[in-house]
């Protein structure tokens, strides 16, 4: 792959170029490239087994890549030292660790390690009581961790991940098992981290509505590659995901699928015709889910036999 000769700008937090990962004879990642800027929230989407966790673990420095150039906060994660580690937050899914500890006690203990890396412009760690309030665990501060509910525990995981006030936060499926209320609170926390703390956030999720809601940018990983990169809107436009027009005419419901993604032309014609009889007109733009499904179907149908275009067309016909 060609590498651009220009150095990444100063606010480029993540720079991944042509990342490869091979386990034995199986290639899990085959040339992943993307970047992320300071304060950006990036969601990594993809079917199970697409390599999302592998990608994140390479960036966290927990897994050694097979090939490619990776820069995380200006360092190679494979050789990033403890000072580099202090600038990164990893939100892990807890299981049985530290069950005997009390919530506040554990956060205060883990915070101690970051105090050495505090500077006047970037004080670390986070004040424990403030952090407890931010993640909504103030009332549970003195509770033993084993007595927390699943949702409370996940919030503690997030608190642990950000206790050092990281410049970059990795979240692998952060809201798995959250109820809608906890999910919304979590989304607010993500916004707060990105907007006020200027943290860069890379998260993986299976929840497309969540990705659409929290992420500035969405990366779709499938077949070991980034097959789409952009905001939810940009992806829908790039993909020309069909928009649907619903209306009632002569007592009957009608549906038209505008395959170009823009239904304006069709609606204009529809109303210019026997416009008076048209009622209950609705134009449904493509959701991220539609775009995502189209993308992944296209990739997956190409995988077994290489007649990609035909199959893609057939897949789209089936949908319309």
């Amino acid at each position: 792959m060609m590498h651009s000769p220009t150095r990444p700008p100063a606010d480029e937090v993540l720079d991944v170029r042509d990342l490869w990962m091979r386990y034995g004879t199986k290639d899990v990642l085959t040339g992943v490239s993307f970047t992320a800027r300071r304060g950006e929230v990036v969601a990594l989407l993809g079917p199970n087994g697409a390599g999302k966790t592998t990608t994140i673990e390479i960036l966290e420095g927990f897994r050694t890549r097979s090939a490619g150039d990776v820069s995380v906060l200006g360092s190679d994660p494979a050789t990033g030292g403890e000072a580099w580690r202090a600038r990164i937050g990893v939100v892990l899914q807890s299981w049985r660790d530290h069950v005997r500890w009390r919530v506040r006690e554990l956060l205060a203990y883990l915070g101690r390690f970051y105090a050495a890396y505090s500077t006047p412009d970037h004080p670390r760690p986070w004040d424990v009581d403030e952090l407890l309030a931010v993640v909504g665990l103030t009332d549970h501060a003195h509770q033993k961790i084993k007595s927390l509910s699943g949702g409370q525990r996940r919030r503690l995981d997030v608190a642990i991940g950000i206790v050092g006030r990281p410049e970059l936060v990795f979240l692998d499926e952060p809201t798995a098992g959250f109820d809608p209320h906890a999910r919304r609170e979590f989304h607010e926390l993500i916004h707060r981290l990105a907007d006020f703390e200027e943290s860069t956030i890379l998260l993986t999720t299976h929840d497309l509505a969540e990705a659409e809601r929290v992420a500035d940018r969405i990366l779709v990983l499938a077949d070991g590659m980034i097959i789409a990169d952009g905001s939810a809107d940009e992806l829908a436009r790039q993909m020309a995901t069909p928009a649907e027009v619903h209306w009632t005419q002569g007592g009957q419901r009608h549906v038209h699928v505008a395959t170009t993604g823009d239904a304006t032309g069709f609606v204009r014609e529809l109303l210019a015709g026997d416009g008076e009889s048209v009622s209950q007109l609705q134009v449904k733009g493509a959701t991220l889910e539609d775009t995502y499904m189209t993308l992944v179907e296209r990739i997956e149908s190409r995988r077994p036999i290489d007649e990609g275009d035909q199959l893609t067309r057939r897949a789209q016909e089936v949908r319309s």
Binding site: A83, A86, W95, Y109, R112, I160
Partner: protein, 297 residues
């Protein structure tokens, strides 16, 4: 350390050594874990179970004497138990919790924290040292049954303190190294079994000189025997050295063997621990959790 330049930056650097922060955090961790152990019913049961078993053993030994002497066997066994408890506390404590805490993700959290592994290790050393010390204090209960035979003076306490410190240094790093070799917490049972088998050739419940020569050699390769010997030298009348190998307390040899264990442990532990920790990641912990849940749920 973040690249800080200029005079103020250097000042910050000099004042804040991240390793010093990690060591202090580790001390806090150790104290918190000790408090948790001493307020936990199952831990406390275990701490008292061993000395109470020892008391029962000593009661049954009443009337028996060390072969070839008229010295009470129980009074010889008690210091051996002190030595064994030191070795157990360091070796088994360190290796068993390591396997469990690797499985449950505690180690991964340490790894995700700057100098977190250093803090974790310091915490473990504080934890095992203090809890072992606690089990030694409870040995006063069995010791009471043989109090008239023991010879306790200022020198005894000095030697006991010495073998405690040397014993911890000889066993905790090695226990950590052994624990790093285990691939699952279920294997800790094997380690426990192995060390129980080692009691026989270690001269804990019977003088080692009464054993076949090959067993004497096996016993002398492990710290159980040497720590027991050290404790006997602290608490028994000097005449009792006659039933030991070579008719002496062999203090120099004891320091040498425990020293070799300490050095080997201090060399191996960081290497093996790092090797084990390198493979830890969110998905490896998740994998073990799933395996565990399917096995036990």
């Amino acid at each position: 350390m973040t690249e800080v330049t200029g005079t103020t930056g250097t000042a910050i650097r000099a004042r804040q050594d991240p390793r010093a922060f990690a060591v202090r955090a580790g001390l806090v961790r150790g104290l918190i874990e000790v408090r948790q152990s001493l307020t936990n019913a199952s831990d406390l049961t275990w701490f008292f179970f061993v000395p109470i078993t020892f008391t029962v053993v000593l009661v049954f030994m009443r009337g028996s004497t060390v072969p070839g002497t008229d010295f009470a066997l129980g009074a010889m066994v008690l210091p051996s138990m002190v030595g064994m408890s030191i070795a157990y506390g360091g070796l088994i404590g360190a290796s068993s919790t390591l396997a469990v805490e690797r499985e449950d993700g505690t180690l991964l959290r340490a790894k995700a924290t700057p100098h977190g592994m250093l803090g974790y290790l310091v915490g473990k050393i504080v934890n095992y040292s203090l809890t072992t010390l606690f089990t030694l204090v409870i040995l006063v209960i069995p010791a009471w049954t043989v109090r008239d035979e023991l010879q306790v003076d200022a020198q005894s306490w000095l030697i006991l303190a010495g073998i405690f410190v040397l014993g911890m240094i000889a066993t905790i790093p090695m226990g950590t190294a052994l624990g790093s070799l285990l691939t699952s917490s279920t294997q800790t049972g094997l380690l426990l079994l192995g060390s129980v088998l080692l009691i026989a050739p270690s001269g804990i419940f019977y003088p080692i000189t009464a054993l076949p020569t090959w067993m004497q050699w096996v016993g002398q390769a492990f710290p159980f025997y040497w720590l027991g010997l050290g404790a006997r030298s602290a608490l028994l009348p000097d005449a009792m050295a006659a039933v030991e190998i070579g008719g002496s307390w062999r203090t120099a040899e004891m320091v040498a063997v425990l020293g070799v264990w300490a050095i080997a442990g201090l060399v191996l532990a960081p290497v093996l621990l790092r090797r084990m920790a390198r493979r830890e990641s969110g998905s490896s912990v998740a994998e073990r959790r799933d395996k565990w849940l399917t096995r036990f749920a």
